[in-house]
Symmetry: C2
Subunit: 337 residues, 2 copies
């Protein structure tokens, strides 16, 4: 492999000059710059990443740790992973993907072997064991998902409470008085998926104020339970005029269940969900929804992380940034009365 010395020799300059041409960190005469550039092009020289990392202590690599919950609804994850890698690249970083179940050890290993300049944590839960790793290592991290204690950490998440309020307000002003909310499965609450509680609690609170009767049920995550549970709810709670779904698996299964029961949306029932554009496309869902905006959240997270790596001052004090939700109207909400 051709190295910086070969380039120097070919251009008739020193190795440091080649390095400075590459980095632009000092002024070089037009003439030598041209000779060096020509030599680089001719020899097809690329800086050796390991050597540069060793000399600068900067790897230009971001770590990305994803949890893989076997009982989780999988298709959602890629919506974050892809934009994370893409944004990182746009900012000059590569992405190292970690999938170890033991996130704590994985992060410590990667950080202490100096493979990464920073870390993105996906799907952070309330009492996430990865956070203690983050507090020990020297590299900064950014969380996607708000944990119980986020002191000193950069966090990006959707404003789930605001999302709930927006939905309840729309339902209320459309004249709905009896609404069913299907939350994520119980195991999401158990695991500490705080977003589920934030959405639910804000919905309950807002419904109370609006004088709206909100019935809350946890959805299932595995067939055939999903269908059975949806059917059961539609049997028992037939007086609801609207259903709010904060549950990927249930909302994906809903069209089939409604079709089977001959229920028309929004004629017989109004439906509002909480899912991304791409989720809507994948499952061909025509329900109005709060967009969970995975690409936007991923981009913001990486941008903040890179800012903290390259220019901590401009990154400001670490803190939580909740993304304001956007409502996408697909016409599944009926105006009553």
């Amino acid at each position: 492999m051709v190295n910086i010395g070969d380039v120097a020799k070919a251009a008739g300059v020193s190795r440091s000059t080649v390095s400075y041409v590459l980095s632009g960190k000092r002024s070089i005469s037009q003439d030598t710059r041209d000779r060096v550039s020509a030599a680089i092009a001719e020899l097809g020289f690329t800086v050796n990443a390991g050597a540069r990392a060793l000399a600068t202590s900067e790897t230009m690599v971001l770590g990305l740790h994803v949890q893989f919950e076997p009982d989780e609804f999988a298709p959602a994850m890629l919506q974050y992973v892809l934009p994370i890698a893409q944004t990182a690249r746009d900012l000059g970083f590569d992405s190292m993907m970690m999938t170890e179940a033991d996130g704590y050890s994985a992060i410590r290993r990667m950080a202490s072997s100096n493979m990464i300049d920073g870390l993105v944590l996906l799907d952070v839960v309330d009492d996430d064991p990865r956070l203690s790793a983050l507090r020990v290592i020297t590299q900064p991290g950014v969380l996607i998902g708000l944990p119980a204690d986020s002191a000193g950490l950069d966090v990006i998440d959707l404003d789930f409470a605001e999302a709930a309020r927006m939905i309840v307000d729309r339902l209320a002003s459309a004249g709905h008085r009896n609404v069913l909310l299907i939350t994520p499965p119980q195991h999401v609450f158990d695991r500490g998926g705080g977003y589920a509680a934030r959405f639910r609690d804000a919905a309950i609170e807002r419904a109370r104020r609006a004088g709206l009767r909100l019935t809350v049920r946890a959805g299932e995550s595995q067939e055939p339970l999903i269908n059975a549970s949806l059917n059961g709810l539609l049997d028992d709670l037939a007086d609801n005029t609207a259903i709010v779904l904060h549950n990927d698996a249930s909302v994906a299964a809903l069209p089939g269940v409604l079709r089977e029961r001959g229920i028309r949306v929004p004629g017989d029932l109004s439906v509002i969900g909480l899912f991304s554009e791409s989720f809507s496309r994948t499952f061909n869902l025509r329900y109005s929804a709060i967009d969970t905006a995975p690409a936007r959240i991923a981009t913001l997270a990486v941008e903040q992380l890179v800012r903290r790596i390259t220019d901590p001052v401009s990154a400001g004090a670490p803190g939580v940034r909740l993304v304001t939700p956007a409502f996408v109207d697909r016409g599944s909400l009926a105006q009553l009365g």
Copy 2:
């Protein structure tokens, strides 16, 4: 950060001895080994990856390039990415994820800057521009997906031709004589997704021999075209007793369409698909299918790549390995006559 010199000092040995304790590449007295290990543990020492890579020319990192086709059915990709990263880790490698649209440049950059020891290419098509990058770089690669010219390359793919023959044979021996095949969308053929043609052509050939009338139609990949096209086919080709789907989007949409038309499976129509277990779970599909076995293919690919990196002799001559398909019976194939 603590380095190998700190450990050496603490243990009262030379840096080389610490290194040899780490690598096990020469025998060390029990006593010094203990002292070194103790020092490593106490100081929390981890080898600096960049320095090691510089010294050994081995990064212990695998590159993974994924194409992101906006018109593609996305959920499938993660089924490969996760097991790739997992298998790599089991074999001592980390995974660098590349998502650049310009795969050729991405690969050349990563390879020539010596960030990776080998490369996994996902979703390889007939005339894949990434292959010319692979032929230039010094690191070995493995392809998931069989290209037109695979000379000198390690390739893993499902045996799509055999899958087609297995399906046709089952249909024939169950007494079906008129069968509809829905292939991947036209743009998959256009892009050179050879697997689509291999499946289709083998199905046609086998059907001819078995005296079975096979009607072939390309499916759509975007709603509302998918539904419309499925309905059109069921209208026009009502005399078919079975339908074979080699099309993710269509098979996911099929239950809804059949339910709407009141068609029962397998009472009114037999259905056989080509999709993974996890796909079946995600979309709650109860159709019998050839399992596309993404995890198995991913694992085989990484194992072969790592073999070629670490022990080229045992890896044998580069070549194509087609995975024999497995049929998963979910009871959607009716026995006729």
